[in-house]
Symmetry: C3
C-alpha cells in the first residue's frame, strides 16, 4: 500500500491517503485579522469539505475529529458552527481541548480523519 499525498509542501502535506483512510492536516483559517472563532470555524470546515472532496471523501465519512481552541471559553461559539456542519447520524468521535496555536490570531484548528468513498 502506498501513501498518496496532496498539497505537498516542504514542511507538511494537507492531505495523506493511506489504505482506505483520508488524513487531513490540522486546518486553520486564512482569514484571521479580527475574525471571530465562528468565522474561523466556518472557513476551516469549508476548507475541510474541499480537501475531502479532492480526496474522494466527504464530511459524512469523517469518523474522527480533533479540535484545538486558543481559548476554551469559545467552546459554545465553535460548536454553533460545528453543529450545523455535521451530518445527522454521521457524527464523528471527537476531542476538543484548549491550546495556543502556531500564531496568536489562530483561534481554532481542526483535524479530521475520514473514510475514502
Amino acid at each position: 500500500m502506498t501513501i498518496e499525498r496532496k498539497h505537498v509542501g516542504p514542511r507538511m502535506s494537507q492531505v495523506a491517503i493511506y489504505g482506505n483512510t483520508v488524513f487531513l492536516a490540522g486546518i486553520t483559517a486564512e482569514q484571521r485579522g479580527g475574525t471571530s472563532v465562528a468565522e474561523q470555524t466556518a472557513e476551516i470546515l469549508a476548507r475541510i469539505d474541499t480537501l475531502l472532496a479532492e480526496a474522494g471523501s466527504s464530511k459524512e465519512q469523517v469518523y474522527k475529529a480533533t479540535i484545538w481552541l486558543r481559548d476554551i471559553a469559545a467552546f459554545d461559539e465553535m460548536n454553533s458552527v460545528w453543529d450545523k456542519w455535521v451530518v445527522p447520524g454521521h457524527t464523528p468521535v471527537r476531542a476538543t481541548v484548549e491550546a495556543r496555536l502556531a500564531m496568536p490570531d489562530v483561534l481554532v484548528e481542526i483535524q479530521v480523519e475520514a473514510a475514502k468513498a
Copy 2:
C-alpha cells in the same frame, strides 16, 4: 467499507468503527463536582471498558491512547490508576499533555483506538 457509529449524538458519536479499528471519543467523567483526578480517571477507564466491549474490543486491544490533563502536576495521580488498568504486555503507545478541557471541572480526558476482535 462503511463506518459503524454508536451512541450517536447531534454533535459527536462516542464510538466509530471503521475497518478493523474502533475509535472512541475523548471520554470525560460524569461525576465531577469535587472528584479527584484519580476518581475521574477510574470512571473514564471503566466507561472505556464498556464502550470497547460494546464495539467488540477490549483494553487488551488498545494500541493508542491520548491523555489530556487539566494540570500536568496530576501526571502521577492519573498514572496510579492507569498503571493498574492496562494489561501487562499489551500497553498502548501513548501521549499525555496538559490542556484546559471543555469545562473547568473536567480534570482529565482520555481517547483510545483499539483493534476490533
Copy 3:
C-alpha cells in the same frame, strides 16, 4: 489481525504495529538538562528514525505527525530541524500545538504514524 508491540513497558509501549500501520508513542528527548528546543527536536527525530526502522518503516512513510511544544514561541526553532528531516515530496499531514508536557524540561514531544513497508 493482531497488534505487535515493541519496547513494551508497564505503562506504555513505544511502538505498536497494527495492520499496515506503525504507531509510535509521543517521543521526548532524554538529553534535557539545558538543551534547546532544536537539540531536543534533533534527538527525538533520530529516535523516531530508529523506532521506525525497527518496525520496518522509515520517515519517508510517515503520513501523520503531531507536535507539542511547551512554548509555541519555539515554533520556528523546532521547524528549523523538522524541515531538514522530512523527505521532500513525502511530508506528512501535521498539527502543532502548545502544551505543558510531562516534565518541565520536556520542551517538545513528537508522535507519528507511518506505513509499514
